[in-house]
Assembly symmetry: C2
Homo-oligomer: 316 residues x 2
């Protein structure tokens, strides 16, 4: 794999993920040339102002010229148009990728727009609730998983080069079938976001409880949901529409489970509640043990008034 590194990376879309990739590349692959474009002129201006990439191009076509890696970092509903804008401008042999949170639909859109290109769809499972070029940071992908979903028959060399790129940025790389990715992420990401959006909406609509009360007493649990319900609305609208089948399937399962709990409460069936609540503790333990969340209580939140961060807590 001599000389397998990408020389020039073009980022189409300079929001949270695109700008985080740019910062991570600067830090870990400083010899790589970075080019970027964003459909929003204000974002382009800001990217130029903070020197996010070496050159901010006015069009997606201009941004990708000469690049040997092109990454589309736009909401999944905007992938098709972004890819179309680069058709005819791609360098021969360029590897085309993206960061979309749903993969089957995006892969089809990229393939349709760029029929002859070498396409390796990717999904770095990382993010925050913030958006825009100022929200990114270099360490966003460190220790997180990046899932590649190449079609059967994709050049293994291209997959290996993209895998090495993400590894350099600190991510752990996994290769997976796009349809399976979409089901797994429906469970671990899309359904949680849908539920969070719903409950935050519900809470603000209940007539006998004011929005002020909801905010005031949110530390009882509700505030945890508001974080992901503050995520980018365009991005999430697109994800739900793009991964419709898997989202609806997991949502159906969730609703059934919720009805069972509803019935258990109505029937004073404490045993069913207790058994579930005991089982769910084990999952949390697995997540913490595998380094996918912090062990500190309350996410290690350090409030102004201030609970101290504690590195270990004993369970009795």
């Amino acid at each position: 794999m001599a000389d397998s590194r990408f020389n020039t990376v073009a980022l189409i879309g300079l929001g949270l993920i695109g700008s985080s990739i740019a910062r991570a590349v600067r830090e870990t692959l400083p010899e790589t040339a970075l080019r970027g474009h964003d459909a929003d002129p204000a974002v382009r201006a800001r990217a130029a102002e903070i020197g996010l990439v070496d050159a901010v191009a006015e069009t997606a076509g201009a941004a990708v010229e000469g690049a040997d890696l092109v990454i589309f970092c736009v909401p999944v509903g905007a992938m098709a148009a972004a890819a179309e804008a680069t058709a005819g401008h791609l360098a021969p042999g360029a590897v085309i990728s993206d960061v979309g949170s749903s993969k089957s639909g995006v892969a089809a859109a990229l393939r349709h727009a760029l029929s002859d290109a070498t396409i390796v769809p990717a999904h770095p499972v990382a993010g925050t609730e913030n958006s825009g070029p100022d929200a990114g940071f270099a360490s966003l992908f460190r220790g997180r998983w990046c899932i590649l979903t190449p079609e059967e028959g994709t050049d293994p060399g291209a997959v290996a080069r993209l895998s090495a790129f993400w590894s350099a940025l600190g991510a752990r790389v996994e290769v997976m079938d796009a349809a399976h990715h979409d089901l797994v992420l429906a469970v671990t990401s899309h359904l949680p976001h849908l539920i969070a959006y719903t409950i935050v909406g519900t809470a603000s609509d209940i007539e006998r409880v004011t929005e002020g009360e909801v905010i005031k007493y949110s530390a009882g649990g509700f505030r945890d949901f508001t974080r992901i319900a503050a995520s980018n609305p365009t991005m999430w609208r697109d994800i739900f529409l793009s991964n419709k089948q898997a989202v609806l399937e997991t949502l159906q399962r969730f609703s059934e489970d919720l009805f069972l709990l509803q019935r258990a409460i109505r029937d004073d069936d404490g045993e069913t509640l207790f058994n579930l609540f005991t089982r769910t503790r084990a999952i949390r333990r697995g997540i913490v043990e595998q380094g996918q969340d912090v062990a500190r209580p309350d996410f290690g939140r350090q409030m102004e008034a201030g609970a101290p961060a504690r590195d270990e807590q004993k369970e009795p």
Copy 2:
């Protein structure tokens, strides 16, 4: 209000909340004598070992003798038995309180067991996912709300003294009708916990996605739910059964809202999704502005591999 401070505080139950009260009293009201009891001998032994209170009593009755403030810090389903165990042992004029997350049922249980006592039910809206005498910390209540729900006709002096006690521990105090408390908390705490428990259960049950995959890719949103779904199972079983009506009412509203979103996804109705997702952002902003959560992205999680804490993030 000269001499209105409590001289001797008895804590019945020495888990997360009881032990946090003990630590906070030591820090902010060091002249106060502290007595404690826990139904679990192992917890009593541990409390004595770490010097949590001045005296660990073998029975609840012995613990409350001579105390002018008694706080029941046990799961709401255990309040009745704990209160009964102190009947006949209470000092004349003692103020009786609790920390239960539902108030109407607990107030009735306390009143039934201790018919002549001065009872001021309370609920500090604070906690972590951890349990037991080692999980508590002195700053748990700082900047959080503590809601008092005295019955009509309760001695205002007792309410004022308990209010001053919680203020000394750093809490902000609110007085509210018990039924209204139960509805507000159903929205801001009980429903979120029920949803979190459900989704964590659902995720671990979907056959085509392994538990290993759920854990591995949990950073996409799921892990946020696992924190509160790791809370004390006994405590939460009791809360749902004790606040049944309000929980079922809010759950019904949530289910209706979820069905609307489900329909919007099925119908490709992006506008409905986008509008809700935009509205929910504002609630998050309110919570952060009012100091009920940290402004840092991702709760300021500082992973081992590590995203830096950032104090401000710009929205584009």
